[in-house]
């Protein structure tokens, strides 16, 4: 991926290096992007990561499986439940534990609520980058309702340690079910309002349509998944292609748009929020009765030697966990496959020759959470 940069003598133009970050209002987290600029054009944008590297994978080798659970929420704090889901799913696969149906359904419902709240944060922050200051407050207003619902059953607002190996920590109560139904009922008109006020705004459309085209082939080569690849015409969604948990029993669509520009990625996420509302409704309607925790989960869990993988569709893309066990009660190796890392890795190639505001719009449309990249 080396670029032979044309020297100033050849092109007759001098370039300068502009440092975006690590503290910058636009980058969501501590990310430094070394941009070599020719006036307003980006010649080369090189992301420099590692400012929030916390060595999660090393921590995985020092803790038992149950002790690692809080770490999983903190990798991508906006989409915390899905990340915990991947880890407990891998352990359950290895230990052959069967989560009861009620537990699976509640996992799906809460994961989808988490997905909506993550997309709301993305939406507000993206519009903030583009100069529209107001939608952020509306998005956070909706998100407060989700956070209150989840706080009622999990006790936390952001980094939930709700899923346990074999099921859930707590069953849901009537207040949660009632509150979630109310939330779904009032969220649908809000999404309509966001569409008419923001998505159909001519200034926003001019900022996003045709900006930052990413082809499906580029996504495949870089391993970009989630709304990035679904905005380029490929309908890859782990919930549909490799169904896990109870997703096979739900009726929903993974929205796909073919244009490949920032607007397509934007529309994918807005549509996903609507689809998540459908899933939540179906989940609440069909919620089976029963226990939420598997029987006979050993207190000291030792997995047989070998490799175990599990992949989920987090808000940002495909998150996969690979646990290498050597038979002891702490894993030998925990590998966390981060969707934001793969999504950001195509930024360098995709942003060549773009104008600075367009490059930033592209970066915003990739929906990055830097702690997810750095782990």
């Amino acid at each position: 991926m080396s670029t032979t940069e044309a020297s100033p003598a050849e092109t007759g133009r001098e370039t300068f290096v502009l440092n975006l970050g690590p503290q910058h209002p636009a980058t969501h987290g501590v990310l430094r992007v070394k941009m070599t600029m020719d006036g307003e054009y980006v010649v080369r944008a090189e992301p420099v990561c590692g400012y929030i590297h916390r060595m999660q994978e090393k921590m995985g080798e020092n803790r038992t499986y149950a002790q690692f659970l809080p770490n999983t929420s903190r990798i991508d704090y906006l989409s915390a439940l899905t990340y915990t889901h991947a880890f407990v799913g891998a352990v359950e696969r290895a230990a052959k534990l069967q989560v009861p149906p009620r537990g699976e359904y509640i996992r799906v419902i809460t994961s989808e609520l988490n997905r909506i709240s993550s997309h709301l944060v993305w939406w507000g922050a993206f519009l903030l980058d583009l100069g529209g200051f107001t939608p952020l407050l509306y998005a956070f207003d909706d998100r407060e309702k989700i956070l209150d619902l989840l706080e009622g059953i999990t006790g936390s607002r952001l980094t939930y340690s709700y899923f346990r190996i074999g099921g859930l920590y707590n069953d849901v109560d009537e207040a949660f079910i009632k509150g979630t139904r109310e939330f779904v009922a009032q969220m649908r008109p809000r999404l309509k309002m966001y569409r008419s006020l923001v998505t159909e705004n001519i200034i926003l459309r001019k900022r996003l349509i045709g900006i930052g085209p990413v082809s499906a082939e580029m996504c495949r080569k870089y391993g970009a998944t989630g709304p990035v690849i679904r905005g380029s015409g490929v309908g890859y969604d782990v919930r549909k292609i490799e169904p896990y948990s109870a997703y096979a029993e739900f009726d929903f669509v993974a929205p796909t748009f073919a244009e490949g520009d920032s607007m397509a990625r934007y529309l994918v996420r807005m549509e996903e929020m609507a689809q998540s509302l459908r899933i939540i409704e179906q989940g609440l309607d069909k919620l089976p009765a029963g226990p939420v925790m598997a029987e006979k989960v050993p207190r000291v869990l030792k997995l047989p030697a070998g490799d175990y993988c599990y992949a989920v569709e987090a808000a940002r893309g495909r998150f996969a966990v690979r646990i290498v066990s050597d038979g002891k009660e702490i894993p030998y190796r925990v590998k966390l496959r981060s969707p934001s890392l793969s999504n950001l890795s195509l930024f360098e190639e995709a942003s060549r020759g773009m104008l600075l505001p367009d490059a930033l719009a592209l970066m915003g449309s990739l929906d990055l959470v830097i702690p997810d990249i750095d782990r």
Partner: protein, 139 residues
């Protein structure tokens, strides 16, 4: 044998329900680039590159994960390299996304990827000389 898989790589079926992977192949270290090129030609996407330090056996293992985009098919290509001189060819010419995964594996294990355009620390500080995920690493 699955028709989607390139025939020259020795893939073995794996119990998906227990392991989460469909096919696995163990190849020699010098065949990795060829395997990656064959999988790229067959339309697989790169998932990640995992390093594992088997200190007791004196080897380091590299697991290359790939997946298909239109159906559920996960494959893993595994290879082992000696621990005291860990070197392997880079696949970033085939899959540009491997660039960052290889830099990260180099950060954590000290594995050198021959032919990599820029093997500088990715997550560790620029002047780091240690490799934290090695089993003999002392902070």
């Amino acid at each position: 044998m699955n028709p989607n898989l390139p025939p020259s790589i020795p893939f073995q079926p794996v119990d998906y329900a227990a392991k989460g992977c469909h096919f696995e192949a163990v190849v020699a270290a010098d065949k990795v680039v060829e395997a990656a090129a064959l999988l790229d030609g067959a339309g697989f996407a790169l998932d990640t590159i995992t390093g594992v330090d088997w200190m007791a056996a004196g080897q380091m293992e590299l697991i290359y994960d790939f997946f298909r985009l239109e159906k559920a098919l996960r494959v893993a290509v595994r290879t082992r390299i000696p621990r005291d001189n860990p070197e392997i060819a880079t696949i970033s010419g085939v899959y540009p996304g491997a660039n960052w995964h290889e830099r990260e594996t180099h950060d954590f294990f000290g594995i050198r990827f021959a032919g990599h355009p820029d093997l500088t620390p990715f997550l560790l500080p620029e002047d780091a000389t240690y490799h934290p995920l090695r089993k003999d690493f002392v902070a």
